[in-house]
């Protein structure tokens, strides 16, 4: 049976259920709301899997209202053009939403805050975002995702922290959204098209002039703001520190990654032909941004003592690594990007849910306040440690596969230093998570230093202190981290990802598929390369992370380890930059845009 009938459903059903719940939530009661929302997320998971299965070997184009382009004509309608990569991101979205909703069964006991409808809208927007084949449609789903995200972030309006986090998030992302609108407008002015394939065909292989470059710059910066790439990342730490844990799972696990996905999609369907003469320079710029982001994120991550903020900076660091997967501008690295996103999403989701369990049990989130107080939570500690090693990308985790494909692809380019950036980011982020774990769950060493951020109080998600962890909280966390391992067990996954990425980067093939109803040529199957190099690298990273964590916990006993103190305090200058002032954030965003724009001007020389 054709999948045509299913395609609009992952967007339509959650929106309808959300509208129903928003109006009737007061009367149907909390548990009915929860059940209906969980059922909808589960339904979406099934639907997105069916769609993924349907587009596995051949991408599928769905024209709304049957407005398909007549032969030789132009695309007037709006389409979803779904390939294996977009479809798998939708599956990830549904999985994380399901985990988040199950987790929230026991939190927000007192409030009627439209949590479930907002989660469903968020899920629908992200599914639409990964399926769409139209620039303006992409923007609309982007904004739907943003607005529901802002509201979810500022859900706990009784304390000022969440309001500030949500406000900063909203201001910075909305400025990014305006840049996208202007970029789309400029591109429309040149090509007369909003459909990816049509716009790409219209630009053709004519070398990009200043208008096309400006359009690409603005669209890329807008989506990279969502992706929290340095220097557009400032909002992310504030938003994550105060958003409810199940919401953080979606923010870090899939929303940020979708920003990078959008840049990849727009580049390969529209701009690849016309930017081809400058691909070398563009690669240089993107990889420098990626490395900067990975390093800054990792340094800030190790310097944080607010558990959620720590995880947020780890997301920034990993977003840099993911951008490297896209920024190499080859299909192999893009395949690595997809595997990295899927496994990182699951692992980071699990870690945020563990942080949620800590808040549920202990009512605090600062590492210094929590020292040794989590010693009864052995299972949570186990999941937490597994997650930390998942961030390091050691052997049984899916992140290893992603890292190996990206690092292998980097060998062919002057930027062969990329694997070292991976190792650096993995050591510091995994080390920070392990350090927090040793202190909170085992009570080892001395209490963490107190810093500005560890004093942030967000108001507990649940009322009284709890002496046990409910299964509805523990199971989703454990399941997500295990999913990060299970990804590694899928046979031939790297070959599959590579084939999907080859289809993704084939611009003429994509245009033919969307506009001429042609089928996509089967990609060449590349043999899987040895994982040995990556296994060695990631094992070293994992061991060094462990050593770093132990070293910073027990530094009083070993005077030689005093360097961990400065690493844990962090750079004063770097910390001051994260000022919490939305004006400063927008200033950095503008400055970053101008700097990248300046570098783009170099293409025109």
């Amino acid at each position: 049976m054709s999948i045509t009938a299913y395609i609009p459903l992952p967007i339509a059903i959650p929106l309808i259920v959300a509208a129903f719940l928003a109006f009737t939530g007061k009367w149907v009661g909390r548990r009915a709301c929860d059940t209906l929302a969980i059922a909808t997320a589960l339904g979406n998971l099934c639907l997105t899997i069916v769609i993924l299965h349907g587009v596995w070997s051949q991408p599928y184009v769905y024209w709304f209202g049957n407005w398909w382009p007549r032969p030789g004509g132009i695309a007037l309608g709006i389409c979803f053009s779904i390939d294996a990569i977009g479809a798998s991101l939708a599956v990830l979205t549904a999985t994380l939403t399901l985990a988040g909703l199950v987790f929230s069964w026991r939190i927000f006991e007192e409030t009627e805050n439209h949590f479930q409808p907002l989660m469903l809208i968020f899920m629908a927007a992200m599914c639409g975002f990964s399926y769409t084949g139209d620039l303006f449609n992409l923007f609309v789903f982007f904004e739907l995702m943003s607005v529901s995200g802002f509201a979810l972030c500022g859900l706990k309006t009784q304390t000022p922290g969440p309001l500030q986090g949500a406000y900063n998030f909203a201001i910075v992302n909305t400025v990014g959204a305006f840049m996208v609108v202007i970029g789309v407008g400029l591109l429309y002015a040149r090509t007369g098209a909003l459909n990816f394939a049509q716009a790409g065909r219209s630009l053709g292989r004519t070398p990009a002039d200043s208008l096309v470059l400006l359009a690409f710059l603005l669209i890329a910066v807008g989506y990279l703001t969502k992706a929290a790439i340095v220097p557009f990342h400032f909002w992310l730490a504030d938003a994550h520190a105060v958003a409810p844990s199940p919401v953080c799972v979606l923010f870090s696990g899939v929303m940020v990654e979708l920003g990078i996905y959008a840049v990849a999609r727009v580049y390969w369907t529209i701009f690849a032909g016309s930017l081809a003469p400058n691909a070398g320079e563009l690669r240089e710029i993107l990889l420098i941004m990626a490395a900067l982001c990975a390093v800054v994120g990792a340094l800030m991550c190790f310097a944080e003592h607010h558990l959620k903020r720590l995880l947020a900076f780890s997301t920034i660091s990993h977003a840099g690594l993911m951008l490297a997967g896209v920024g190499l501008l080859t299909s192999k690295a893009l395949g690595g990007f997809v595997l990295y996103v899927l496994s990182h999403g699951a692992i980071k989701g699990g870690l945020f849910l563990c942080a949620g369990i800590v808040i549920h049990r202990l009512q605090k989130i600062g590492e210094d306040h929590l020292h040794g107080r989590g010693h009864e939570m052995r299972l949570t500690a186990a999941v937490f440690i597994l997650g930390a090693f998942g961030l390091a990308g050691i052997l049984p985790f899916g992140t290893l596969l992603g890292e190996s494909m990206i690092s292998d692809a980097a060998k062919d380019f002057p930027q062969s230093w990329l694997p070292y950036v991976f190792v650096f980011a993995e050591i510091l982020t995994a080390g920070a998570v392990l350090r927090a774990c040793f202190r909170i769950f085992f009570g080892w060493g001395d209490p963490a230093p107190t810093d500005e951020s560890s004093r942030i109080e967000e108001g507990p998600e649940t009322t009284a202190q709890h002496s046990t962890t409910p299964m509805t909280m523990f199971l989703p966390a454990a399941a997500l981290v295990l999913l990060g391992i299970a990804i590694c067990a899928v046979p031939q996954l790297r070959t599959t990802a590579d084939s999907a990425a080859q289809v993704f980067v084939d611009q003429p093939g994509y245009a033919g598929m969307v506009l001429d109803n042609a089928s996509v040529a089967a990609p060449a199957k590349s043999p899987e390369e040895s994982l040995a190099g990556s296994i060695v690298r990631s094992s070293i990273a994992g061991l060094l992370a462990l050593a770093l964590a132990l070293g910073s916990v027990f530094r009083k006993r070993f005077p030689k380890l005093n360097f961990t103190r400065s690493l844990e305090t962090g750079s004063r200058a770097l910390r001051t930059l994260h000022s919490g002032h939305p004006g400063d954030y927008v200033a950095w965003q503008s400055l970053g845009t101008a700097a990248i724009g300046g570098l783009f001007a170099w293409f025109l020389r």
Partner: protein, 116 residues
């Protein structure tokens, strides 16, 4: 000739002044309004893109086929933009009202709880 570019220059001008306002603002309400000003630059830009000299409204009920009309698509984009951003502004302003209730200030400098 210069006049063709005037609208684009206005859009860039409005966009940059709006950004300047957001960066230097000392009041959250003012900051949200500056964001709305940035948004108006997108209207100017989209209008400039869709405008055709001598064109009329693109409603072919009472004009002969082949008449010069302005681009009907940009007004649809603009309308969507208005609706979407209207939602964002409403949400932002409601956050400002809440911030004033909870923290007793609308100065972004004083509301800084999250930092470092």
């Amino acid at each position: 000739m210069m006049l063709n570019y005037l609208a684009y220059a206005v859009a860039a001008w409005v966009f940059l002044w709006g950004l300047y306002g957001i960066v230097t603002s000392k009041n959250l309400v003012h900051q949200v309004v500056c964001l709305a000003i940035v948004q108006t630059s997108t209207y100017v830009l989209l209008l400039a893109i869709g405008y055709k000299a001598g064109g009329t409204a693109p409603i072919f009920a009472d004009i002969p086929v082949g008449t010069v009309v302005v681009d009907p698509l940009v007004q649809a984009l603009m309308l969507t933009d208005v609706v979407v951003e209207g939602t964002v502004m409403a949400l932002l302003l409601s956050m400002v009202v809440k911030a004033n209730e909870v923290a007793g200030t609308v100065d972004p400098e004083e509301l800084r709880i999250l930092m470092g």
